[in-house]
Point group: C2
Chain length 494, copies 2
């Protein structure tokens, strides 16, 4: 390869662009790796969210794209000058907002390796290792998480990596829609999707994108888990109204409070009414590497599809959502289209997986590499230990909250999310979030449930330690005390 | 940050996992960067596709996931032992198959930087720099490619990065479906999508996923471009049959032969019948950075949406598909769902973009970073120079083919794809592909059009030089001569 050979003038009359110089790539790559290590090591000294107003970042960029090359040093300098001052630092040890976007050094390196290889896995034949490692690692995860054996690619089912749980759920909904259409002749507009009122917005969005007529929010019980009697009643009511129940989504670990729907009871209703049953375990699915959480999976052996996001809580950077189907045939039948330029002897043999038929996109990068590297670098023991620390800290925090005179948890802590509120009311609860977030030392999410404000503390950053959780508790404790009477809060927060 | 401080035993009773040691990350990162440089520099000495049979790669992997951590050296060694022997090397200088998956050192480093930062751009507020740099760089591309000014985020339209053109086209189809439903009340099942018979399979797949009743393949002319008279006739025939024409997709640079549909004429028909008009320029869109290709855009100022893939031919590794809408309102109205945990003051102000409302997934990584780095590292001049070399070599190759006694091109070469066949017939054409691919020195795609076999040579690897194209021509020339009579080919290829 002559890319860094300036003597090969025949095909580079203007000289080879510096951007293609592989010796420079080594230098720049080493410098960037060091920059990332410094960034991660220095996060604790930065605010969790940088203060920034709309337009601040764009104002630092030139109006027109560059005509001439810029040296790599300027790109690197702009990470500090333009990018970092405009970030909310999801990898910060004080990040407790949303759900975690847990990453780790082996995952970052796996992403780099995949980018360096630059191969495509749309067909088995377009790079067999991409497909075979993905299938194998997802079969590993079936064992690692105690999932049903028949979901493996070596059985009737199979797993595939998608970009996000939204994509996985949307895919399940499309397959279910076509299945119901085949079985009943009902158009999408007459088909109904069921999910608890606490299910993720991706169910509603996926159903809207897939063109379903209705998404029926099902009532929840006192723990915010789906009420199966309410589900059965809704299905029967819709049937009487001439609608066609098509698919039900259960959630293991809702976004609001990590509630766990009764999967077995839902599965029974799905079976009775011949509905597709999809399980969204986007966040909590990672916990299933620890046997003590697997009672939450009860009933999952009867479901049709299941998704969770290693990019949330299994130390694997976004994007890496895993999606299994119990039977891969309806998935492939729904999504397979083979134009002449994609016909292939290996595909025709039926001996290989062509993952382009398992999701909407055709092209796909080698995302299994980082998941493979995470599993091997930590070992399952190491990952269990990381997650158990998070859960332990969360339950300890929940205990401190319930022992506080002005705070109460509003839901159990089955995983590593603590949901609580200030006893002085919504204004104090909202003020608590605002003051702690303004400190720069921690970042929480304020939300609402049953029409009342509450606080979500999601523990799951790779770099969070016991010291950080102690510091968070001090912030919560002192802020809650200062907001102990409704009048201390002020009407501006009401 | 105390991750590499073994003295902080309080939160790591079993010792900190080696996978979290940032000093080790530096060493491993440097080693991996060097490994990638060596891989790319050594590609020319490897076969373009490694010989591999189904199951070969999985057979090299342990049956069970590891319980204990493995050292990084073993991961790196397995790149050579397990991964590389199972790849088709898309970055090989002899890669002429499909369309290119063009990458470059700055793009690989941009991907690494994004992975290292590990931030999420679903809302502006979840990391403002992610959104503002994406919006700004896509506005830059509007200027760089001579696209309509009103597509910019500073105007009524806007651009967003999606994973693939399949996702972009699917998104356009969903927005169009809902628009038609609002305008006419017609359910998806009554709506029709039009695209030429040479349009990409992603149109048919996207329409099936979105639940459209019909995809009407429109006849093409002698250059394989959509025939607007045939389109008008099909639309009118469907109207008479009680169907509802909803959306038409034009292609600039078809996958078969890089044919260019008459966008202006299609736009006029779309306007007359009030259809959404989407343009798929997945491959050829990158060429628009060179003014001499922009005549192919004639009429694009009247279309509703447009996509192209910098991950195909703009030196930016997968995934990076850009998607513009002329008016962002129907897009956002169709896809916006705001649960309480995503409510946000900046979003409510209307002063910011929340890109989660621009596509199916919610989570999104910082893909704009690599595109920004590619534009800056090459400069537009450098990128134009790269693409013009590819086009020049392709046209030169097309000329040699048409001067050959046993070969003929079957379509023009407006970009860098050469489509040709052997004059001795389909068997000889197929044998030509098989023999050249078996050489390991070049990899082409065999396909079919109008029921006849032909060969696609797509020039666009970052590392291809004039020497490689000369070598390819020698292979084509000598193989074609050896197949000059039908009997030389043998019936087994018929």
């Amino acid at each position: 390869m002559a890319r860094s050979d300036p003597g090969d003038a025949s095909d580079s009359p203007g000289g080879e662009p510096a951007a293609l110089d592989l010796e420079a790539f080594r230098r720049h790559g080493h410098a960037l790796v060091d920059w990332i290590a410094d960034y991660l090591a220095g996060l604790d000294d930065r605010p969790v969210r940088e203060p920034v107003e709309p337009g601040d970042i764009r104002a630092r960029l030139p109006a027109a794209p560059p005509e001439r090359p810029e040296p790599f040093d300027e790109l690197l300098a702009d990470l500090d000058r333009v990018v970092v001052p405009g970030l909310s630092h999801w990898q910060h040890p004080g990040w407790y907002a949303y759900f975690p976007a847990m990453s780790s050094p082996p995952a970052v390196l796996g992403e780099l390796a995949a980018a360096g290889l630059g191969v495509q896995g749309m067909l088995w034949s377009t790079s067999p290792a991409v497909t075979e490692i993905e299938a194998h690692v997802l079969d590993w995860l079936v064992d690692a998480c105690g999932l049903p054996e028949h979901w493996k690619t070596t059985g009737p089912g199979g797993g595939v990596i998608q970009m996000s749980a939204s994509d996985s759920t949307h895919t399940a909904l499309v397959v279910a829609r076509e299945r119901t259409r085949r079985l009943t002749g009902a158009p999408a507009e007459s088909q109904v999707v069921y999910a608890s009122a606490e299910s993720h917005s991706s169910v509603t969005k996926g159903a809207r994108v897939a063109g379903f007529g209705e998404v029926r929010p099902v009532a929840v019980d006192a723990t915010f888990a789906l009420d199966p009697d309410a589900l059965a009643a809704a299905v029967e009511s819709d049937r009487r109204a001439g609608l066609v129940p098509s698919v039900v989504c259960s959630t293991i670990g809702t976004t609001g409070t990590t509630a766990v729907d009764p999967v077995a009871a839902v599965a029974e209703i799905a079976r009775t009414h011949d509905m597709w049953h999809h399980v969204d375990a986007a966040y909590a699915g990672s916990a299933m590497i620890c046997p003590e959480f697997r009672h939450h999976l009860a009933g999952v052996e009867a479901v049709d599809s299941y998704t969770f996001n290693p990019h949330k809580w299994l130390a694997t950077n976004f994007d890496c959502s895993v999606f299994w189907v119990a039977d891969r045939r309806p998935l492939i039948e729904t999504l397979s289209i083979v134009p002449p330029y994609l016909r292939d002897a290996a595909s025709a043999s039926g001996r290989v997986i062509d993952y382009r038929d398992w999701h909407v996109p055709l092209g796909r990068r080698f995302r299994a590499l980082k998941l493979w590297w995470v599993l091997r670098s930590f070992g399952l023991e190491g990952l269990r230990s990381l997650l158990r620390r998070h859960v332990g800290w969360a339950r300890d925090l929940a205990g401190r909250i319930d022992g506080h005179p002005h705070l109460e948890t509003i839901a159990p802590t089955p995983f590593a999310l603590v949901s609580f509120r200030h006893l002085a009311g919504d204004a104090a609860t909202r003020a608590l979030v605002e003051r702690i977030n303004a400190s720069g030392r921690a970042y929480l999410t304020g939300s609402e449930i049953d029409g009342r404000a509450y606080v979500r503390v999601s523990i799951g950053s790779t770099w969070t330690t016991a010291r950080h959780v102690d510091e968070l508790w001090e912030l919560i404790d002192t802020t809650a005390l200062s907001l102990a009477t409704p009048t201390a809060d002020g009407d501006d927060h009401a």
